[in-house]
């Protein structure tokens, strides 16, 4: 089938304003959008820029705004997008070129939640024990691939770029609810601060946007509950 791609383009330091470019490619309905972007880049216009690597929804490189919603280009098939497809960079991050956005501040917020296990006690010679139920408690938030789809779909983030954002909170949740972690109080200070979880207005865009199916809004809600009522 023939597919028309309408792609928002911009190059830092060269273009004053973004502009739209249109391309037409021949593709299979079961092709990924990423395949269509490659068809453009490899055989029509080598100047088109986007990130990608694993091409099956695990590395988190190719989150972008596709027909108005954040998706991974490698995890959405053309048959689900229609024959006219609009592709834009994620909203709320500065654009470097075309679909490539600045990730440094996003990663800074990830570092801010101190995303590593804090267990004060000496580890045993073998593994620390954890029941399957305790492990299940935070399973959902271990799936995060830091693609940015949730944070850049969040109106609270758009209006306040200092907000930690859903992705960083998901990563914090993963440690907050890990039975092996001993830094609950410290973590709650960061999460309860001015630009922490209370900026979330429970809009659910993040949950819709997550390509890993994480219930992001629910995870944020659990952190809010922990702040109000203590962790359970």
């Amino acid at each position: 089938m023939k597919v028309k791609l309408r792609i928002k383009r911009f190059e830092r330091g060269k273009d004053r304003e973004p502009y739209w470019a249109e391309y037409e490619v021949e593709a299979e309905p079961t092709d990924r959008l990423l395949d269509a972007l490659h068809a453009v880049k490899w055989y029509q216009d080598g100047t088109l820029a986007f990130r990608r690597s694993c091409a099956h929804g695990v590395c988190g490189s190719d989150a972008m705004l596709i027909n108005g919603v954040n998706r991974l280009a490698c995890k959405v098939l053309l048959k689900d997008l229609g024959q006219r497809i609009t592709v834009e960079p994620m909203r709320g991050f500065a654009v470097i070129k075309d679909l490539v956005v600045e990730f440094d501040r996003f990663m800074e917020k990830y570092r801010l939640v101190e995303p590593y296990l804090k267990a004060g006690s000496e580890p045993p010679a073998k593994e620390r024990l954890q029941t399957p139920e305790e492990r299940e408690r935070f399973d959902d938030t271990t799936k995060c691939i830091l693609c940015g789809a949730c944070t850049t779909s969040c109106p609270s983030f758009w209006s306040n770029p200092d907000y930690l954002g859903p992705a960083a909170i998901v990563q914090a949740h993963r440690f907050l609810f890990d039975s092996r972690d001993e830094a609950t109080a410290e973590r709650l200070v960061v999460l309860g601060a001015r630009d922490g979880v209370w900026r979330c207005r429970t809009i659910y865009n993040c949950t819709d946007a997550c390509p890993r199916g994480i219930e992001v809004t629910r995870a944020i809600g659990e952190v809010k509950k922990a702040l109000l009522l203590g962790k359970r």
Binding site: W42, G46, A49, A55, G60, S61, R111, L129, Q130, P132
Partner: protein, 581 residues
């Protein structure tokens, strides 16, 4: 534009498992990690089924059994001193990951959960054993994240989205690397005492592959261009169960949990090829079996695939133990593995060969294992050799961690003792000339070649002539084709003339790496007139220990030609035997 200069004790090229593990073990030194992706995008994150270690959490197990399985799986080409280290240190490594917070799946009594995996057995081959420690089917994702988290904790310095273009040597010592900052096109010279190559694999030399687009053999090619040989490149693993046409990996863990393979006639064909281990035989054996079935017209509906059937496992097992692959199958094939079998075909997966190193990760450059001071390699881009002619599932994760750590520690020792060598004169000149050629094309005009067209041709020809089955004839043909592609590569010109995030230019550089790696792969495969592990020559179907129980070393000579030499295999505990499963 002037290059920007940096000075570090140690530079790590690659932000996957091996690079990050080395970085954690170098913390406190002046160390920089250069990665062409954000490190959390690295391909370690796509490993699914688990990491092998004889913890014995589910049933009795011993590191000696793990070592034996690895040696036998390698078709006796692995160096047994290195394999012993792999199997022994796997155990402490898994505990260390757990202590760092890795969320392993758990047994009912709270220990790290373990599952069966191909070629891993108890009592030296009697039956499959539960050895693979897993976190659902995203073990690699959890390992990559845990290591990156430890790097954050230890304040490791990262240069994200830097593509390394050149390895700098001064005299016979390592002096640093030259890299391109992809975001702005700036060249950077990193002057350092020690460099670790940890760039992963090169699966993109093939058309159907489980490997990410980024896996273009960068570290291997950089070493080759610096005069270092590549070891055992003829051994390339095809994983038996890639999703039909796409090559996306379906973990061996699916068969570890009880999944079965069927041909188009509904036969469980592995009964004929590996009567004891069946669907859990090593990957080389199953991939060949599938190819044989397909060639005999036993594919499903006459097509080039067989079925992986998980239906009998039931919804609970499939959704809790194999959630990610279930999602892949639903997304990309539109079928549900709970109710339908999965169409699979072998997919190019793993390079057993690479930059030769000793057990401390130090690069060795000849038959006598002479060390090149300051140069290190670890992970898939290296060849220790623990995998020999065929790697067992779960052992790549063990490899990156055990030898990433050893490399990091030895680099720490080295940079404490060694002086910083001077930089070569005009260190960025070669890198600058390469970029200029790719941007300007041949003499500024003339008929330019396209990167995508050359790459397509390389991948198709390699798939056709140098994959699961090979012959002298097919290899000789593809050798000529790769040489011709090398010539045409000199005529490449990219379309994108800018410097800001120019991925057109990045792909052009990567194609050069792919061509170099493919050239050595084919040369070594053509020379090896026997069949061993993943290297199967239809014109020489037997293993030949008298002539070929040795490692190949492929080196680029000053004239540009490739030259092969060989070095002996280290055998300690297990004498070569016939390999049956």
């Amino acid at each position: 534009m002037e290059a920007v200069y940096h000075r570090y004790d140690a530079v790590i090229v690659g932000g996957g498992g091996a690079g990050l593990m080395a970085a954690v073990n170098l913390a406190g030194q002046e160390v920089a990690v250069l990665s062409k992706l954000y490190p959390v995008r690295s391909h370690t994150g796509t490993a699914q089924g688990g990491i092998g270690a004889a913890l014995g959490n589910v049933e009795e197990d011993h590191w000696e059994w793990h070592m034996f399985d690895t040696v036998k799986g390698s078709d006796y080409l692995a160096d047994q001193d290195a394999t012993e280290i792999l199997a022994r240190e796997a155990v402490e490594t898994v505990y260390e990951l757990e202590h760092w917070g890795l969320p392993f799946s758990r047994t009912p009594d709270g220990k790290i959960a373990q599952r069966r995996f191909g070629g891993h057995t108890r009592e030296f081959g009697k039956a499959p054993v539960h050895r693979s420690c897993y976190a659902a089917d995203r073990t690699g994702h959890m390992i990559l994240q845990t290591l990156y988290q430890q790097c954050i904790k230890n304040r490791v310095k990262f240069f994200d989205e830097y593509l390394v273009l050149d390895l700098l040597l001064e005299g016979q010592r390592t002096a640093g690397v030259v890299a391109l900052s992809i975001a702005d096109g700036q060249l950077h010279v990193f002057h350092a005492k020690a460099v670790l190559l940890a760039t992963g694999g090169c699966g993109r030399i093939y058309q159907i592959t489980s490997n990410a687009h980024a896996l273009t053999g960068d570290g291997m090619a950089l070493a080759l261009r610096a005069g270092v040989p590549l070891e055992d490149m003829e051994f390339f693993q095809f994983h038996p169960t890639g999703i039909y046409k796409l090559g996306i990996l379906i973990t061996e863990g699916a068969r570890g949990e009880g999944g079965k393979l069927f041909n188009g006639r509904g036969e469980r064909f592995m009964e004929r090829y590996a009567p004891t281990l069946l669907d859990l035989a090593p990957r080389d054996i199953i991939s060949r079996a599938i190819y044989r079935e397909l060639r005999q017209g036993h594919g499903v509906e006459g097509k080039w695939y067989v079925h992986l059937d998980l239906r009998h496992l039931g919804r609970e097992v499939i959704e809790t133990k194999l959630p990610d692959i279930t999602d892949f199958v639903r997304t990309y094939l539109g079928i549900d593995p709970i109710t339908e079998p999965i169409p699979v075909q072998p997919t190019a997966h793993y390079a057993m060969g690479g930059v030769p190193t000793d057990v401390s990760g130090r690069v060795v450059v000849d038959e006598k294992n002479t060390v090149l001071p300051g140069l290190y390699a670890a992970g898939e881009c290296a060849c220790v050799s623990v995998h020999g002619a065929n790697r067992l599932g779960t052992n790549s994760l063990v490899d990156i961690l055990v030898f990433g750590r050893r490399a990091g520690r030895d680099m720490g020792r080295y940079v404490g003792e060694a002086e910083l060598p001077p930089l070569p004169a005009q260190p960025e000149e070669r890198a600058r000339a390469l970029l200029a050629r790719l941007r300007e094309g041949p003499n500024g005009d003339g008929r330019a070649e396209s990167v995508a067209a050359l790459r397509d041709e390389l991948q198709r020809e390699m798939m056709d002539k140098a994959s699961v089955f090979r012959t002298g004839e097919s290899l000789a043909e593809v050798r000529e084709q790769v040489r011709a592609l090398q010539e045409r590569y000199q005529q490449v010109r990219v379309q994108d003339r800018g410097w800001v995030f120019n991925t057109d230019l990045v792909e052009a550089v990567e194609l050069g790496f792919l061509l170099d790696v493919a050239e050595v792969t084919v040369e070594a495969a053509l020379a090896r007139q026997e069949s061993r592990g993943a290297h199967y020559r239809e014109d020489f179907p037997q293993r030949d220990d008298v002539k070929w129980l040795k490692h190949s070393l492929g080196r680029r000579t000053a004239s540009g030609a490739l030259e092969l030499s060989y070095k002996p295999v280290t055998i300690t505990r297990f004498q070569p035997q016939e390999r049956k499963y």
